[in-house]
């Protein structure tokens, strides 16, 4: 199981590296879209988690 997981993460890393090399050279805006979209999704998700924490601490007080 650990080996499989290791293999999966290695493949993901490889794909990301290839993307960085290819898109970084010729497709800087495409690369910016990939990074920006991931960042926006994660920030939105983090915002929701933060709200849960705020509500939780509000209830405790």
């Amino acid at each position: 199981m650990i080996v499989l997981r290791m293999l999966l993460y290695s493949i993901i890393t490889l794909v990301i590296l290839v993307l960085v090399i290819l898109l970084g050279q010729k497709g800087a805006w495409y690369f910016a879209w990939v990074l920006g979209t991931v960042m926006m999704v994660l920030i939105a998700a983090a915002g929701a988690a933060l709200l849960d924490t705020q509500e939780e601490s509000g209830r405790k007080q």
């Binding site: 805006w29 910016a32 920006g36 979209t37 999704v41 994660l42 920030i43």
Partner: protein, 514 residues
């Protein structure tokens, strides 16, 4: 009006109307899919039921929009064949590949996974369903990517050459087609504009719920996620808009002339026309409110680069028409005798200006006998409709900054966890929903009206791209589209309002699943 002119005008109207209708549905699809993915990501990582409720409720509204988006998009692809057959014949070898891949992305990747997304909640594990939602988001955005690669070629043709033996453009570099700077900037600008649309849509409806004290837990979380997603997206969309303006300014000087209502070439740094009332006939602004020295650094990133005005663009176009005439004449010789090496050499020598001579051919069918008057008329055509492009551009920019301001304020209120008490914000939130739609539609008017009189910039004039339809069939089909699409809009509005009023099903307040 001559029949050819009438068919041309009606074909343009038909494409514009169907594209603008279609684009009422597209931005929400592009953005909502990633927002749904974000909601579901929180559900999978925290196990809180409310995030599943959110993904399902907003997913239902997305589904209504998605179905109508697909229905309105189908006819656009057929129009390339029915109304724009000369264009399709000219660039089919280039345009066909991205269009086919778009079909695969939209109808195989996106539509297959969208079914799994709607009906697979209780049939798949959380992780697998999350993967499906991400695939829907990728599918919808990648299908937009391929359309915009095709559009990027029309704005700034790269990766293909005209072959006089086959009389059409042939692909020379797929990589240059995909990595065309115009396509890149336009894709990111359009996709992120969709994110802003979805964010404002979700925030507006969530605000309305909070104002009426309904579904508070769901609405607060949806609002928080939407405004955070949207505020970063609106910064991105403005940055990319600036990049796209820079690219267009360099590659499509006539579009820049129209966007900025610049009739005359001036010494840099040139003033920026904040407000102007352009007169196309008189080639001047009847009134202009100007900010000194602002335009040059905005569009050239320098203080001393000369920006050509309409006078200079028309002068250069006339020179290119003169240089392009031998290419078109040689092409006619080659069509009769493809082995004529003299004609081929002559064509190669003047090939780069062939499109401009084709522009002149509208007024001088016998190019060898073209008069100075014909040249002047054709040169005037090179400048797009300035008033429409100028004002559409300003509507888009003002809407973009208004959205950034609104989303910024909404983000601060939400992060303080006081948004439910800011009734003024909750009241204005639903009124902001139409603003990104207005910006998106205005943006398309700038892009497409600004490219005129070309379908493929500098290569193929619009007047030569159209099919030989009858006026009657064009009037009939245009009327039909307007009626059917108007019904679609009414159906969409009715269903949206019905499901929004009803609200999320079986919603309970934020229990922990574990």
């Amino acid at each position: 009006m001559h029949d050819l002119d009438a068919v041309l005008a009606l074909s343009r109207w038909q494409f514009a109307v169907t594209a603008l209708y279609h684009f009422l549905f597209v931005p929400l699809t592009l953005g909502m899919t990633f927002l749904l993915a974000a909601m579901e990501t929180v559900y999978v990582t925290t196990g809180r039921q409310i995030y599943r409720d959110m993904a399902q409720f907003w997913g239902k509204l997305f589904g209504i929009n998605f179905a109508l988006g697909v229905a309105t998009g189908l006819t656009m692809e057929f129009q390339f064949g029915t109304n724009w057959s000369q264009y399709s014949s000219f660039v089919g070898d280039v345009f066909g590949a991205p269009l086919a891949i778009e079909g695969l992305m939209a109808f195989f990747l996106e539509s297959t996974f969208v079914g799994l997304m709607f009906f697979g909640w209780d049939r798949m594990s959380r992780g697998k369903h999350l993967l499906v939602t991400y695939m829907v988001a990728l599918g919808s955005n990648l299908s937009a990517l391929w359309i915009l690669i095709g559009n990027g070629f029309m704005q700034s043709p790269h990766g293909a050459v005209f072959d006089p033996a086959t009389m059409r453009m042939e692909l020379t570099s797929f990589s240059n087609l995909i990595f065309n700077h115009d396509a890149q900037a336009k894709f990111v600008h359009t996709s992120i504009a969709g994110y802003v649309t979805a964010a404002v849509f979700v925030a507006g409806i969530s605000g309305w719920y909070m104002l009426h004290r309904r579904h508070m837990e769901l609405a607060k979380r949806s609002f928080r996620m939407a405004v955070l997603f949207g505020v970063f997206a609106s910064v991105g969309v403005i940055s990319l808009g600036d990049a796209l303006g820079f690219i267009d300014g360099t590659r499509e000087p006539a579009k820049l002339v129209a966007m900025e209502a610049m009739w005359h070439t001036e010494q840099p740094p040139v003033a920026f026309n904040l407000i102007a009332f352009p007169s196309q006939k008189q080639q001047r602004n009847l009134y202009a409110l100007r900010i000194p020295g602002l335009l040059t650094p905005l569009v050239t990133r320098t203080m001393d680069t000369v920006i050509p005005g309409a006078d200079e663009v028309e002068k250069q176009a006339m020179e290119r028409m003169r240089n392009g005439i031998p290419a078109v004449l040689a092409l006619k010789t080659l069509s009769a005798d493809p082995s004529d090496s003299g004609a081929l050499a002559e064509f190669r020598k003047h090939q780069k200006d062939m499109g401009y001579a084709l522009l002149l051919e509208r007024y001088a069918p016998d190019l060898a006998a073209a008069t100075p008057h014909d040249f002047r008329k054709a040169a005037r055509d090179v400048i797009p409709d300035v008033a429409i492009v100028f004002w559409s551009f300003r509507v888009m920019v003002v809407a973009g900054f208004a959205l950034l301001f609104y989303l910024g304020v909404a983000t601060v209120c939400s992060l303080n966890n006081r948004v439910q008490d800011r009734r003024w914000l909750l009241k204005i939130a639903p009124w902001f929903i139409p603003v990104p739609y207005l910006a998106c539609e205005a943006g398309w008017l700038v892009a497409e009206m600004g490219r005129q009189p070309w379908t493929v910039y500098g290569l193929l004039p619009t007047w030569l791209s159209v099919s030989t339809q009858s006026v009657g069939s064009m009037v009939f089909s245009l009327t039909g589209f307007v009626l059917i699409y108007s019904v679609f809009i009414v159906v969409e509005m009715y269903l949206m309002l019905k499901f929004i009023r009803r609200g999320p099903d079986n919603h309970v307040a934020a229990p922990l699943a574990h």
